[in-house]
């Protein structure tokens, strides 16, 4: 990163803190609550190996005798298991914390992947124009006409066919990141392309071109820093979407394997026990997922409004 971009970023940060955004953050209780909830969940999930009361990934520590224990406030509850245990005797609270970690990892990584891909294609499309532009944008439009979940299912299906079951289980998390990332790149590409079209005609780009800089450098060193503004908003909203998509895929049984359960996998496992009264196995992961997605979404919505000059 060059000095100019660092300075620019610092400047941006300072302006952000001093200005309307910070003010609007302080003035909305809901956003503050959402931020706190998100922070707690992200910290709880990230540091789950240290914070969780049990290590549910270590099979030697779980015992079938403890299975199907209800939450602690119910009859037969056990103080060791705050939210009860599942059919194999895993502590639900720890399982949720570990599960949220997988969900968040997949969410963040796939958003990052989609962003890198989408921004690169958007920049190329906007700057190069002509045939390349048409080609990329038509491909984007075709993909937009399919729901993201369908694309993710398709990509996962291809990998499932190409890899044997064992390899697929091992790589499941990365396949998931690839599948979700590939189904979300379009928004970034379209946004960046339109900003690039605007920036392309400005004097500083002209000046850079006159000095003989190669297009690659013009695009990444000069245009890119000026089109990143809206990306943060898209990324935040997409993070919630990516988490939901991962949970949906895992719920359908095509996501991460049960040996490394995400929130969606936990809901799927618990689903089998809904009729028999062991509601805590599915309800708690469900609530955790809903709260996490809602909090992230509220943050995203607020960020969108706060950064929108028309609403200021």
């Amino acid at each position: 990163m060059s000095i100019t971009t660092t300075a620019r970023a610092l400047d941006l940060l300072q302006r952000a803190v001093n200005s309307d955004i910070y003010h609007s953050f302080r003035s909305s209780k809901m956003v503050m609550v959402a931020a706190v909830v998100s922070a707690v969940m992200i910290i709880g999930a990230t540091f789950s190996p240290i914070l969780a009361p049990h290590n549910t990934l270590d099979l030697a520590s779980i015992s079938l005798i403890d299975s199907l224990t209800p939450p602690v406030w119910m009859e037969d509850g056990d103080s060791r298991f705050l939210l009860g245990t599942d059919d194999q005797g895993r502590d639900m609270l720890s399982a949720i914390m570990h599960g949220a970690r997988v969900s968040l990892f997949v969410g963040f990584a796939s958003v990052l992947f989609a962003m890198v891909l989408g921004v690169s294609l958007g920049l190329i499309s906007g700057y190069a124009g002509g045939f390349l532009d048409s080609f990329i944008m038509r491909a984007a439009e075709i993909q937009l006409s399919f729901p993201a979940i369908l694309i993710a299912l398709l990509i996962d299906g291809i990998f499932r066919g190409a890899l044997d079951a064992k390899t697929h289980d091992e790589l499941a998390v990365y396949v998931m990141i690839l599948a979700i990332g590939l189904s979300f790149w379009v928004q970034y590409a379209r946004t960046v392309r339109s900003s690039t079209l605007v920036e392309k005609g400005k004097e500083y780009v002209e000046a850079a071109r006159v000095t003989g800089l190669p297009p690659f450098l013009i695009v990444f060193r000069h245009i890119l820093p000026n089109v990143t503004g809206p990306l943060l908003v898209i990324a935040t909203i997409n993070l919630a979407l990516a988490i939901i998509t991962e949970a949906t895929l895992s719920f359908l049984g095509v996501g991460v394997p049960p040996t490394e359960p995400s929130l969606g996998t936990l809901i799927r496992i618990g689903n089998d026990f809904l009729f028999s009264g062991e509601w805590w196995i599915t309800i708690f992961p469900g609530v955790a997922l809903a709260v996490l997605v809602l909090a992230v979404n509220l943050l995203g919505d607020w960020l969108r409004d706060a950064l929108n000059p028309k609403l200021r």
Partner: protein, 525 residues
């Protein structure tokens, strides 16, 4: 005028619909997986064979109490100890209109002994099948076999002309990706025809109007849907979307019984669920141990046995709908089974045995498990994995749908697996021949002994039991074989699972103890 005419048309169409609705008896049922194939010789699995027994028939069949009845064969007699004569039923037609005759029987018995057939073990490789005339077939064995036809209810007869015409004279091999016409189309002699089939989605059956027997059902259309999710299957029954489903997830039996209009049928099943271990390879597959096979060491097998807490599995996973077992056959099928007791659960002794065998820190190995075949199969495997983890053995579980699972393990590509077995003849010889004797791939002996357990003396007893006619001597030989197996710890028997079906009150059907469901006995009120 035009309006009036169209109104009359609508009314008469509606009347027609109502009229046919009153008579149409559609029966919808669900199982946790689909039949592997429509080819009746592809997989020796209770569900697939039971499913296809609605469409295809064997020379004999089994009634509601599992007693053997004549089917495509009207009668049979023993001419001399090695020579059986079967008289075939006359006037039977396949669904495509072809006549059923001795050529089809000879063809079928050749077909099931070809490469790729999974039911090779139902007839000895050196048995001669000879056509005498169009409706008489002789079976000439090299050794006397008093129970030669006991498993022939599951040797489903195919039409020679139809199979050859469609290039399906050889069976499709479940361990390979080969498929042929017979895997997607069915042409049997049975009481139902396959109207349409989408693999893993839906199969529609229609009654065969030209069937030779007397129909004991009133079904005009049977629709089968595989529903792998337990909760979805229960919900489908509770909401009335289907009329019958099995297996019932054990945790939901109470819920279904307390719901008005639905009821569960439970009972002991003849199936034994067990763990198998690779004892033939010199180096274990999917393991951290290189250059040797720890499972060849009896101490390691005993350590595995002692690490498993079967009582907790019974209580917590099977919710008491299982009977822990010490032998590889249901107590209903062997009179002396009560003398056998399981080796007790003792994790400390298990650890000591592992240390003694040279694995004080345990080792790592892979395990194969189906996830839609037996009651709570995947949950049992997960529990076994956790229990072995407690004694230091790290098991990497690969739980797959049965289509992929069988493809893998029947190719012997496994080191540790969970399997269930119901002897097709309801007799211990079937268990000994298929699971306990030494594997001989050339003749298909012990084809389902996936871990390659081999004890020469037990192997010898298997052949003796087959030809032994005195019941007491026969039982004591079987007993000796089970003693040897227990001493060797060749397998780890887990339990006999319970049978749990659920249906609407408005449906009558027959629950057979071998867990085969026959559309032929269904009556819809």
């Amino acid at each position: 005028m035009g309006l009036r005419r169209s109104l009359i048309a609508v009314a008469s169409v509606a009347a027609l619909c109502v009229a046919s609705g009153a008579q149409a008896k559609t029966f919808k049922w669900a199982f946790q997986g689909d039949a592997q194939s429509l080819d009746p010789h592809t997989l020796n699995e209770t569900f697939t064979l039971g499913f296809l027994s609605n469409v295809y028939e064997g020379l004999v069949r089994r009634g509601p109490d599992l007693q053997i009845e004549p089917s495509l064969a009207e009668s049979w007699e023993l001419l001399d100890p090695n020579h059986w004569r079967f008289t075939l039923r006359k006037g039977v037609k396949f669904h495509n209109g072809n006549d059923f005759n001795a050529d089809d029987v000879v063809f079928t018995f050749d077909r099931i002994r070809m490469d790729g057939s999974d039911i090779k073990t139902k007839v000895a490789p050196d048995t001669k099948v000879v056509k005498v005339d169009d409706h008489t077939v002789d079976f000439i064995t090299t050794k006397p076999n008093p129970i030669v036809y006991y498993e022939w209810d599951n040797v489903l007869i195919m039409d020679k002309e139809w199979s050859e015409e469609h290039n399906a004279a050889a069976p499709t091999d479940v361990t390979k990706d080969s498929e042929n016409f017979a895997a997607f189309n069915a042409n049997g002699t049975g009481p139902f025809t396959v109207e349409s089939r989408e693999t893993d989605v839906r199969t529609v059956f229609k009654p065969n109007a030209d069937w030779w027997g007397e129909a004991k059902h009133n079904v005009t259309e049977g629709i089968f849907t595989p529903i792998s999710s337990d909760a979805t299957r229960v919900a489908a029954l509770l909401s009335g979307e289907i009329d019958m489903m099995y297996p019932v997830p054990v945790q939901d039996i109470k819920r279904i019984d307390s719901n008005s209009g639905t009821v569960t049928l439970t009972g002991p099943e003849l199936r034994t669920i067990f763990l198998g271990m690779d004892q033939s390879r010199d180096e274990l597959l999917y393991s951290s141990v290189k250059g040797k096979n720890p499972l060849k060491d009896k101490r390691v097998r005993e350590a595995f046995y002692k690490a498993i807490d079967i009582e907790t599995i019974r209580k917590k996973i099977m919710r008491n709908l299982s009977t822990p077992s010490a032998i590889m056959v249901s107590p209903f099928l062997f009179s002396k089974s009560s003398k056998y007791e399981r080796i007790g659960y003792d994790p400390e002794a298990s650890k000591a045995l592992l240390a003694d065998a040279g694995y004080p820190d345990g080792f790592e190995l892979g395990m194969d498990c189906p996830n839609n075949r037996y009651v709570n199969d995947e949950a049992i495997c997960q529990a076994v994995v956790a229990m072995l983890a407690k004694v230091g053995v790290k098991v990497n579980l690969l739980a797959q749908p049965k289509a992929q699972y069988f493809k893998k393990v029947l190719g012997y590509d496994t080191s540790f697996y969970l399997l269930g077995w119901t002897p097709g003849s309801f007799d211990s010889w079937n268990v000994m021949y298929n699971l306990l004797s030494c594997r001989d791939d050339a003749v298909g002996r012990a084809k389902f002994n996936l871990g390659g357990y081999c004890n020469a003396e037990l192997d010898k007893l298997t052949d003796e039991v087959l030809v032994e006619t005195d019941p007491a001597t026969r039982d004591s030989k079987i007993e000796a074989a089970y003693d040897m197996l227990a001493a060797d710890i060749g397998y780890i028997p887990l339990h006999q699972q319970g049978l749990a079906w659920a249906k609407k009150d408005s449906v009558d059907l027959v629950q057979r103890a071998d867990n085969q469901f026959m559309l032929h006995f269904v009556n819809v009120k």
